[in-house]
C-alpha cells in the first residue's frame, strides 16, 4: 500500500475512534444505520427520512425497562405516536451472552407477549449503532427530526427510579418533545441525563 493512503486510512481511523468517544450532540446529524428486525428484514434510518423517528434502547431484563413496559406506559406511548405517523425503532444493543441480548426468536416472542407497538424491534448485537449514538442506558431515548437531525437525547421521563408508581407524577420528556415537534414548536427540553441500566456492550 502506498504510504499516503496508509496515512489517510490511519488518520480517518483515529478520527472515527475519537468521534465514537463523543456522542453526536443534540442538533447534529443523526448517524445513518441499517439493522435487521426479528424477521431478518433490514431497516435503515435513511428509508424513514421525512418522518419523525424515535429510537428506544431496550433490555427486557432491566428493571428500568420493566418499569415502563410493566405499567403499559411504553406501549401506550408507542401506540399514540406510531398512530400519528411517527416511526418508533426499539433497539437491542446488548452483546450475545449478556443479560438482555435477544435472539430473533426471543425478540418475536417478547413483542407478542408484551403487546408492544413499535414500528420495529431491531437487533444490534455488536453494539455499533448503540455506540454511534453514544447510547449508554436502557431505556435511552433519541428523537430524530424529518430532516435527519437529533432533536432529543436523554431519559424517558423526569423521575430516575425503577418504581412504576413514580410514572404518573413524572414529566415524560419524549411525549413533550414529540408533542412540541408535531405542533411545529421548538423542543423545550432537548437533552436530559438518561437513567437506567447500562447497555451491555461487547468487550472490545
Amino acid at each position: 500500500m502506498n504510504k499516503k493512503v496508509t496515512l489517510t486510512v490511519f488518520t480517518s481511523l483515529i478520527a472515527t475512534a475519537i468521534f465514537a468517544l463523543e456522542p453526536p450532540p443534540v442538533g447534529s446529524a443523526a448517524p445513518d444505520f441499517s439493522l435487521p428486525d426479528a424477521k431478518g428484514q433490514e431497516h435503515s434510518l435513511a428509508q424513514y427520512k421525512g418522518k419523525y423517528v424515535v429510537l428506544e434502547w431496550f433490555n427486557p431484563e432491566c428493571p428500568f425497562v420493566k418499569k415502563h413496559y410493566g405499567s403499559d406506559n411504553m406501549q401506550k406511548l408507542q401506540k399514540e405516536y406510531t398512530d400519528k405517523g411517527v416511526v418508533w425503532l426499539t433497539i437491542d444493543s446488548n452483546a450475545p451472552g449478556t443479560e438482555g441480548n435477544l435472539t430473533p426468536e426471543q425478540a418475536q416472542k417478547i413483542t407478542t407477549s408484551w403487546k408492544t407497538h413499535e414500528t420495529a424491534l431491531l437487533l444490534d448485537p455488536d453494539g455499533k449503532v448503540g455506540q454511534a449514538y453514544g447510547s449508554k442506558n436502557t431505556p435511552n431515548m433519541v428523537i430524530i427530526s424529518p430532516d435527519g437531525k437529533i432533536v432529543y437525547h436523554g431519559a424517558i421521563d423526569s423521575k430516575a427510579t425503577p418504581n412504576p408508581a413514580d410514572i404518573p407524577s413524572s414529566t415524560n420528556y419524549v411525549k413533550a418533545a414529540l408533542d412540541q415537534s408535531l405542533a411545529g414548536k421548538s423542543i423545550s427540553t432537548p437533552q436530559t441525563k438518561p437513567y437506567g441500566c447500562s447497555v451491555k456492550y461487547k468487550s472490545s
Binding site: 456522542p23 453494539g127 448503540g130 436523554g154 468487550s203
Partner: protein, 709 residues
C-alpha cells in the same frame, strides 16, 4: 448455666440486639445480594450531642451499589429517615467511590463488597424516653451484569444516657478514612475553572497532588447537567489540567462540584480525595456572571430606568415634575421642550457623575455596590435627609428657592435659562432618590456592569439614564399630551403642599434608616440638626425678601450660616459621629441567627441546610418580603419542618464580608435570598420579590434533593 452467667448472656444478647436489632436484606433468586444494617458510632444517645449513624450495605461478590453521582448508569442509594420530631439529620457522607469502566465506554461510580454511608444525627436537648428507635428506609440499585433495585427499612435501637462510649470504632474509622477531605489551603493547592466551548477545564496547581500517578475528577453535577467523562489533559510536576465535557446546553455553567481523587494506583484502597465545592465562601472557583449579550443588558438597563420612575422613593419627585409640566402647559412648545431636555440632562449628569465616581473607586480597589454604596453610609443618608427636608419646606411655602444673584448673573443671561437650571436640578434630585431602589431588572443589569470595563459601565449608566428620562422627554416633545392635563388653578397650591407631606414621609423613612445605622440617639441628633436647618429655611423665607435691604439680608445670611455650621459641628461632627454603630444582633427576632461567613461554613460542615436573608434596614423590598413571606406562619413552619438554619446578613452598615458575598452572586445590592441545601450542593438563589408559594415550593425541592442524596 449459673444465674449470673445467664444474666450476662442475656445482657450481651440484648446489647447486640440494641446495636443491630435488624439486618434486613435483598434476596434475588435464592441468593442474598445486599444486606442492610444501621450502626451507630456510640453506645448510647446523649441528649443534644450529635452522633454518627451508618447504613452498612454488604453486597455479594462482584455486585455493586452506587455513589451520590452514579455515572453513566445506575442510581445513587437513598436514605429516608423516620425520626421523631426535633431530631436533625445531616447529609450522607459518601466514601470515595470506585470508578468502573464497562464495555461501550460506560463509566460508573460505586462500591463493591461493602460500604458504610454515614450521616450525622443531632438529638434534641431534652429526651424523656429511656431508649430510642431510629429507622430509615433505604433504597438502592445493585448491579453485576444485571441490575436489581432493592430496599429495606433497617432499625437501630439505642439507650438514652448522660454518658456514652464509642462503638463500632474500627468500622467507622475505616470509612471515615475513605471520606473526601475539604480543599486544602492555597499554600498546598489552588484550583481554577475555565470554560472552553462545551468543556469545563479544571486547573489544579499543587506539587503534592501532582506527585500521584493516578489522578481523576469525580463529578457531582447539578440536577439538569449532563456531564461527559472527565479526562486528564496534562499532568506536570506541579500542575494538572482536567477536562470535564458538558453535554447538556448549560452555556453559563462555570464550575462543577466534585472530588479530585488521587492515589498511587486507580481504585486502590489508599485513595484519597479533596472536595471541590461550588459554594461561594469556600470554593476556589468563582461563579462568573451570566455571559449575556451586552445589548440585552443595556436594554434591561433602559427598562430598569423607566421602572425607576415608579419606585416609591422617586414618585414624589416625579409628581413634582408632572406638576411643573402642568404649570408650563400654557407656555410655548419650545420652552417646554427645553425644560424637558434640561431635566433629562440633569438625570444624565447624575448618572454619569455616579458612573465616573464608581469607576474611580473601582480602580481604587474599593468594594463598591449599588444603593448600598450610598445607603450603607450614614452621612449620605443624612445629606439626603437634609435635601428632602429643604424641598418639603419649599413645597410648604416656608421659603422660595432662588439662586444667589451673583451666580444667576454669572451663569444665566435670561430668565428662561433659570427655569432650565431648575429643571436640571430636579433631574439630578429625582435620580439621587432613585438610587436605592434596585429594581429586579436593574439588579441583573448592574451586576453585569460592575464586572465590566469602564466603557461598559458608562454605557450601562447611560442606558439607565435614557430609560428614566424617556417619559419626560416624550411628554415635553409631545405637548399635545400635556393639553389633556387639567388647567392651572388654586388646586395647584394644595397639591404642592400635599407633595410636601410625601417628602416628609420619605424623610421618616430616612430617619428610620439612620436609626438602624446609628441607634435611637443617632437618629435624634440627626433630627436636631434637621430642626436647625428648618429654622434656617424659615429665616430665609421670613427675612430674606427682595424688599429687604442688602444689609439686613447679609445679617440674616450670616446668622443662617452660623446656625447651620454651628449645629453641624455640634450635632453631627460631635454627637452624631460618636453615636455607636447599632448592633445588628439586637435586631434579630424569632429564630433568626446573625450571619457570618464562618457561621455559614460551620452550619454546612455539620450537614445543615442554610437559608441566608441578605437584608438592610433601608431596603423596602426586603422589609416587604420579610413581613409578608418569611415571617408568615406557614413559611416559618416549613423552615422548621425541613430543619433549615436561618441566617440574617444585615447589610445596613455595609459589612464588607457581606458585600463580598453579594458580589460573588453577581448582585450589586440587597435583597438577596440564598438557600444552601448542603455543603456539596449548588446554592439556590431566590428571586428578589418573594411569594409564599414559591418559597414553600423551593424549600420542598431542596429538601427532597438532600433526601435523595
Amino acid at each position: 448455666m449459673r444465674p449470673v452467667s445467664r444474666i450476662a448472656a442475656f445482657l450481651v444478647a440484648w446489647s447486640l440486639l440494641a446495636l443491630a436489632s435488624q439486618s434486613p436484606g435483598q434476596v434475588y433468586q435464592g441468593k442474598e445480594l445486599v444486606k442492610a444494617e444501621l450502626l451507630a458510632d456510640t453506645s448510647a444517645i446523649v441528649p443534644g450531642k450529635p452522633f454518627t449513624v451508618g447504613l452498612l450495605l454488604r453486597m455479594a461478590p462482584h455486585w455493586h451499589t452506587y455513589w451520590a453521582f452514579s455515572g453513566d448508569a445506575g442510581l445513587p442509594t437513598e436514605l429516608k429517615w423516620k425520626l421523631p420530631s426535633g431530631w436533625k439529620v445531616g447529609e450522607i457522607e459518601w466514601p470515595i467511590p470506585l470508578k468502573t469502566i464497562d464495555p461501550g465506554d460506560i463509566e460508573t461510580y460505586g462500591y463493591e463488597n461493602e460500604v458504610l454511608l454515614m450521616q450525622e444525627i443531632t438529638p434534641p436537648r431534652k429526651l424523656d424516653d429511656s431508649t430510642v428507635k431510629l429507622a430509615a428506609e433505604a433504597n438502592w440499585l445493585v448491579c453485576e451484569k444485571i441490575c436489581i433495585p432493592g430496599s429495606a427499612t433497617p432499625q437501630l435501637e439505642l439507650p438514652i444516657s448522660t454518658t456514652s462510649q464509642p462503638a463500632n470504632s474500627e468500622l467507622f474509622a475505616r470509612y471515615r478514612h475513605l471520606l473526601p477531605q475539604n480543599w486544602p489551603g492555597s499554600n498546598v493547592a489552588s484550583a481554577s475553572w475555565s470554560r472552553v466551548g462545551r468543556d469545563l477545564r479544571l486547573k489544579i496547581t499543587s506539587e503534592s497532588l501532582a506527585k500521584y500517578p493516578a489522578l481523576d475528577f469525580f463529578p457531582l453535577p447539578g440536577p439538569d447537567v449532563v456531564v461527559g467523562h472527565p479526562t486528564i489533559e496534562s499532568h506536570n510536576t506541579n500542575e494538572v489540567i482536567l477536562r470535564v465535557p458538558i453535554e447538556s446546553s448549560e452555556k453559563n455553567l462555570a464550575s462543577m462540584a466534585g472530588l479530585v481523587v488521587f492515589s498511587q494506583q486507580a481504585n486502590s484502597e489508599d485513595r484519597a480525595a479533596w472536595r471541590i465545592s461550588v459554594a461561594p465562601t469556600i470554593s476556589a472557583a468563582k461563579a462568573a456572571p451570566p455571559a449575556r449579550g451586552i445589548f440585552t443588558f443595556l436594554f434591561f438597563g433602559f427598562l430598569g430606568g423607566i421602572i425607576l420612575n415608579l419606585m416609591p422613593c422617586v414618585l414624589p419627585v416625579i409628581s413634582l415634575k408632572i406638576f411643573g409640566f402642568i404649570q408650563q402647559a400654557g407656555q410655548s412648545r419650545r420652552k417646554i421642550l427645553r425644560s424637558g431636555i434640561a431635566f433629562t440632562v440633569g438625570i444624565f449628569a447624575w448618572f454619569v457623575g455616579l458612573a465616573l465616581l464608581l469607576v474611580a473607586l473601582k480602580s481604587g480597589g474599593r468594594d463598591v455596590t449599588w444603593g448600598g454604596f450610598q445607603f450603607t453610609n450614614a452621612y449620605f443618608v443624612l445629606a439626603l435627609s437634609v435635601i428632602v427636608l429643604v424641598f418639603a419646606l419649599n413645597l410648604f411655602g416656608v421659603f422660595e428657592i432662588s439662586l444667589p444673584q451673583g451666580m444667576t448673573r454669572g451663569l444665566l443671561s435670561t430668565t428662561e435659562r433659570k427655569d432650565d437650571l431648575g429643571s436640571f436640578f430636579q433631574g439630578v434630585f429625582a435620580t439621587v432618590l432613585a438610587t436605592p431602589c434596585t429594581a429586579p431588572f436593574l439588579g441583573t443589569a448592574l451586576g453585569f456592569a460592575f464586572s465590566q470595563s469602564v466603557v461598559v459601565i458608562l454605557a450601562m449608566f447611560f442606558a439607565i439614564a435614557a430609560g428614566m428620562s424617556a417619559p419626560y422627554l416624550l411628554l415635553s416633545a409631545q405637548p399635545a399630551w400635556l393639553r389633556f392635563l387639567p388647567q392651572p388653578g388654586a388646586w395647584m397650591l394644595h397639591v404642592k403642599q400635599f407633595m410636601g407631606f410625601l417628602l416628609l414621609a420619605t424623610l421618616l423613612f430616612l430617619l428610620y434608616v439612620l436609626g438602624a445605622q446609628r441607634g435611637l440617639e443617632g437618629a435624634i441628633w440627626a433630627s436636631c440638626f434637621l430642626l436647625v436647618i428648618s429654622i434656617a429655611c424659615w429665616m430665609k423665607g421670613a427675612f430674606v425678601l427682595p424688599t429687604a435691604s442688602a444689609a439686613k439680608r447679609a445679617v440674616v445670611f450670616v446668622l443662617m450660616f452660623a446656625l447651620i455650621v454651628g449645629s453641624g459641628i455640634y450635632f453631627i461632627g460631635g454627637k452624631f459621629r460618636s453615636s455607636n454603630l447599632a448592633l445588628t444582633d439586637s435586631r434579630l427576632r424569632g429564630d433568626w441567627q446573625a450571619f457570618t461567613p464562618e457561621r455559614l461554613q460551620a452550619e454546612l460542615d455539620q450537614g445543615h441546610s442554610v437559608f441566608v436573608d441578605f437584608t438592610a434596614a433601608w431596603c423596602i423590598t426586603c422589609k416587604f418580603n420579610e413581613a409578608n413571606v418569611l415571617e408568615n406562619s406557614e413559611v416559618r413552619e416549613a423552615f422548621r419542618r425541613h430543619a433549615i438554619v436561618k441566617l440574617k446578613a444585615d447589610w445596613t452598615n455595609g459589612d464588607p464580608a457581606i458585600t463580598k458575598l453579594l458580589q460573588q452572586f453577581g448582585r450589586p445590592g440587597v435583597p438577596l435570598y440564598v438557600l444552601y441545601p448542603g455543603k456539596n450542593e449548588e446554592p439556590i438563589v431566590f428571586p428578589e420579590v418573594l411569594t409564599k408559594g414559591m418559597v414553600l415550593e423551593k424549600l420542598q425541592t431542596a429538601a427532597s434533593r438532600v433526601a435523595a442524596q
